[in-house]
């Protein structure tokens, strides 16, 4: 059985086992390693990608379920890393080790796409499922607020 998935605008045809989580298809088959493994059971958010515009845990989403859909990973979020969130992440010096940040950014990108003017509480709620062990939460929340401001002004 073969599956067709559009990833970052590129069409991929694959005959891997349809039950393989999208996470491992991205990381091991396509070698798109920006999407990270953190827990494997949808608790940490490190593997967050967009599937048809919705933030999804790629560790829980199979290749079969992704077939025919448009997947965006951190590598495809913007041209040249210039998404307002990516810019705000740098201006707030958010990342420490940086491992969880692709997932944080992808979750935040969905939030801002749906809600261009989130309150502090809405930001926290949206990012509650994205764990950061370095403890960058405060800066993450500031960066999301900055990016929202930036996007409204643009």
């Amino acid at each position: 059985m073969s599956y067709t998935i559009t990833i970052n605008g590129q069409v991929h045809k694959t005959d891997v086992d349809g039950n393989m989580p999208l996470l491992w298809f991205l990381r091991d088959t396509l070698e798109l390693t920006g999407t990270k493994y953190g827990c494997g059971i949808g608790l940490c958010g490190s593997c967050t990608v967009h599937v048809d515009g919705r933030a999804m845990r790629s560790c829980l989403m199979t290749v079969k379920a992704s077939a025919g859909k448009k997947v965006t990973t951190i590598e495809g979020l913007s041209e040249n890393g210039r998404h307002p969130l990516q810019i705000a992440w740098l201006s707030n010096n958010v990342p420490q080790c940086g491992y969880c940040q692709p997932g944080q950014i992808m979750t935040a990108a969905e939030l801002l796409a749906k809600n261009p003017d989130p309150s502090t509480e809405e930001i926290t709620t949206a990012l509650e499922g994205n764990i950061c062990r370095c403890g960058t939460y405060k800066r993450i929340n500031m960066a999301v607020a900055d990016a929202a401001k930036q996007m409204k002004g643009a």
Binding site: V16, D17, M20, P21, W24, R27, D28, T29, E31, L32, T33, G34, T35, K36, Y37, G38, C39, G40, I41, L43, C44, S46, T73, I74, E75, L77, G81, Q86, W89, L90, N93, V94, P95, Q96, C97, G98, Y99, C100, Q101, P102, I105, T124, T125, L127, E128, G129, N130, I131, C132, R133, C134, G135, T136, Y137, K138, R139, I140, N141
Partner: protein, 724 residues
């Protein structure tokens, strides 16, 4: 240095540049390390380390020998080099050094990188600048003191000529490296003390930063592993055939325990075409384990036993003055027992490594804090010389002390050796949670006396915890005098004191967790001090000031003064003494660890079991701050980690095995749990810089517990206060 070693040095430099994809035409400068940093084995073949390279077009490369795990060291140290070099930071590329003696000690822990490496790195930069300036002077036929460097260009005071660094590298290469280059004075700093942007964040936000788990090489296979759940246990049986029958499975590898401190506990790995297939096959193996000698380890009972061991006389390790007299003459006496659980580091990137074992070479790519530890362990495992093991140091997705140990690398090497291909091993979160080198669980009992003048006169401190030494030597069954030094040398300087060690045989592997023993020492001492202040009827901040003022120990005057400094600062920042609303409270804690000083004040609101942290103020004395923004981020991170371990996280054992498995039952702090406001102030920056990776962690939990008491009257003496 003999001619021969000079030649070797030259060859090595050429190879080094070639390996880094750089042309040999540029200027390369080594760092001379002080003799104290050179191990005995590094005598004859020691070469300058931590190279700086300037290409003919001026592009500059600075290698960082210390490991990057998020703490920002690979920006802070190279930026200091660039400062002394008068380099333009936008022209600088930072590369992580592979395992190599020429980088000096690369083991990254103990908040020691800046302590050890700042001066040698600054000297490397200053030497490079002097060589470039001398080269320009030579080409202009001007005296050197008429020439000066500024941002990648050399100028002179005589005419308007200038030469870019890139144009000078050929000439500068022929100038001998100055042995004692002149360092900048602080008013001349360009990057030191400034919030220079980290070099690695740009890659992080686009998913391009390559961590140990992300490394790819041609022909790569992927592995998953199940470990023996009980330390010292064995694999009894497993169904290899069912796994081998699955498409994509390459091999099933039995990995026996490798009895080295950083070796595997043993287990079974599956090697496959991708990680998922390996995980699927692993689940079908139906592995049965034999528990072995630690099969009855149960942390609930074990901690109860530790409490008994510290509430009765134990082994005396330190004594001064007369505790009996102090207690006999006391106006106030108080005692308390404090308990803490095991912790797991749980970095977001679980243990992961790529190993490629071949007959004539072995190459490793790993997230690590200790490249030489990998060389030693893999060398012992493969019966090869440590220097024959090539270790590429990858970015760590968090480490917190766990990636000092390289059991996961040895397992990847075992898989690679078995299948004859490069293998990337990624532990599942469950394996990461259950196969750790855990922070010690602990019990401490403190008794103290206060005399009629309000002075603390006597301090009895008993501690029992499985010590890290047990990981290296199973004969260690209780804390040593060295393990207890944080108490016996505590800057309170109490005149009459006795420190005792309680029995605590380890039944699991114990390791260094960010801030290590300072977590439970800082907790017990600060909570007890708050209790003692209340018992004596004195405000806690005033009580602490009195203790430090009364410290007459000649060797502790600097420590006591610096503790006072951060205490006074945090009292001011937090508005200590102000009226708080109902159910709100302020708590304070001060701790000196890893050569630095931290005081924290926590503002909490308590409603029933609901604890909300509104604000944390941090006053820090780590001397000169190299990069204020990175340093602030370290403190923010310490507050988050401190909050998580104070409130919720504990690793529990039943029948010798870890009960927790993933983030649902090891609930690290989430976004909503972060304090709404964290303020950080650095004081006493005139002093020599010291580390900051760890010292922020110990103060949060006691300040929080003291704040909860202030808000609600409820006193917690065990961590975590709300176990999952």
């Amino acid at each position: 240095m003999s001619t021969t070693s000079k030649d070797l040095n030259a060859i090595s430099r050429r190879d080094f540049l070639k390996a880094s994809g750089l042309s040999a035409g540029g200027l390369i400068i080594g760092v001379s390390l002080p003799v104290s940093l050179l191990g005995a084995s590094q005598g004859a073949d020691f070469q300058p380390n931590a190279f700086v390279y300037i290409a003919e077009n001026g592009d500059t490369t600075i290698w960082c020998g210390r490991c990057e795990m998020g703490q920002g060291i690979s920006t802070a140290l190279p930026a200091a080099v660039a400062d002394e070099l008068e380099a333009d930071w936008t022209r600088v590329r930072v590369l992580q050094g592979d395992a190599n003696k020429k980088f000096g000690p690369q083991a990254t822990g103990g908040s020691n990188s800046i302590n050890q490496m700042l001066d040698p790195m600054r000297k490397a930069g200053a030497a490079g600048k002097e060589m470039l300036v001398a080269a320009a002077a030579q080409s202009w036929k001007l005296p050197v003191d008429k020439c000066y460097a500024k941002l990648h260009v050399v100028y002179n005071h005589v005419d308007d000529r200038s030469l870019a660094y890139g144009d000078l590298v050929g000439l500068a290469s022929k100038i001998p490296e100055p042995e004692e280059p002149v360092l900048k004075t602080r008013d001349q700093f360009r990057y030191i003390g400034k919030p220079v942007q980290r070099h690695d964040q740009g890659d992080m936000v686009v998913g391009a930063r390559v961590y140990g788990a992300d490394t790819k090489v041609p022909g790569l296979k992927y592995a998953a592993i199940s470990h023996v759940p009980v330390l010292g246990g064995t694999v009894k049986s497993f169904d290899k055939e069912v796994a081998l029958a699955m498409p994509g499975v390459v091999d099933v590898v039995l990995i026996p325990r490798f009895e080295k401190p950083y070796g595997s506990v043993g287990g079974v790995a599956v090697v496959a075409d991708n990680t998922w297939t390996a995980q699927q096959a692993l689940a079908k193996l139906k592995i049965e384990f034999e528990a072995g000698e630690n099969g009855s380890y149960n942390t609930t009972e074990y901690k109860q036993q530790l409490v008994k061991n510290v509430e009765a006389p134990a082994k005396k390790e330190f004594e001064k003055g007369s505790l009996d007299q102090a207690f006999g003459e006391a106006a106030v006496r108080h005692k308390g027992t404090y308990v803490g659980g095991h912790l797991s580091h749980s970095p977001m990137e679980p243990m992961a490594s790529l190993a490629w074992v071949q007959d004539d070479k072995c190459e490793i790519w790993a997230s690590t804090q200790d490249p030489a530890g990998i060389q030693g362990t893999i060398g012992a495992y493969l019966e090869r010389k440590p220097e024959d093991i090539t270790v590429h140091v990858m970015a760590s997705g968090g480490a917190f002390g766990r990636k000092f140990m390289c059991d996961y690398v040895q397992e990847a090497a075992a898989c690679s050796k078995a299948v004859g291909a490069p293998v990337q091993l990624t532990w599942s979160r469950e394996e990461d949670t259950q196969t750790g080198y855990y922070h010690s669980c602990s019990a401490q009992h403190i008794e103290a006396s206060v005399n009629a003048e309000g002075k603390v006169t006597g301090w009895l401190h008993r501690a029992a915890f499985p010590a890290i030494g047990s990981t290296f030597n199973p004969a260690v069954v209780q804390p040593t005098a060295g393990d207890l030094e944080a108490v016996s040398k505590h800057p309170y300087g109490i005149e009459n004191m006795r420190v005792e060690s309680g029995m605590a045989k380890a039944h699991t592997r114990i390791g260094w967790y960010r801030a290590v023993y300072a977590i439970f020492y800082g907790f017990a001492i600060n909570v007890f001090t708050d209790e003692l202040a209340h018992a004596a009827g004195v405000d806690t901040v005033q009580f602490l000031r009195n203790i430090y003022d009364n410290n007459m120990d000649a060797e502790q005057q600097e420590q006591a003064q610096r503790c006072l400094g951060v205490l006074d600062k945090v009292a001011e920042m937090s508005g200590w003494g102000k009226k708080m609303p109902a159910n709100h409270g302020l708590g304070i804690a001060v701790h000196h660890s890893f050569h630095s000083y931290v005081a924290m004040a926590v503002h909490v609101e308590v409603n029933g079991d609901d604890v909300t942290i509104h604000r944390v103020d941090c006053a820090v004395d780590c001397g000169l701050v190299l990069n204020p923004d990175i340093a602030t981020a370290q403190m923010e991170g310490a507050v988050i980690m401190g909050t998580g371990l104070a409130l919720n996280t504990e690793i529990s054992f039943e029948n010798g095995a870890v009960v927790n498995s993933n983030f649902h039952d090891y609930p690290v702090l989430l976004n909503s749990g972060a304090p709404a406001e964290i303020n950080v102030a650095f004081i006493n920056q005139e002093t020599k810089p010291t580390g900051l990776g760890e010292p922020g962690v110990p103060t949060l939990a006691p300040a929080l517990v003291n704040a909860i008491f202030a808000a609600s009257g409820k006193r917690y003496r065990s961590l975590p206060i709300q176990p999952a």
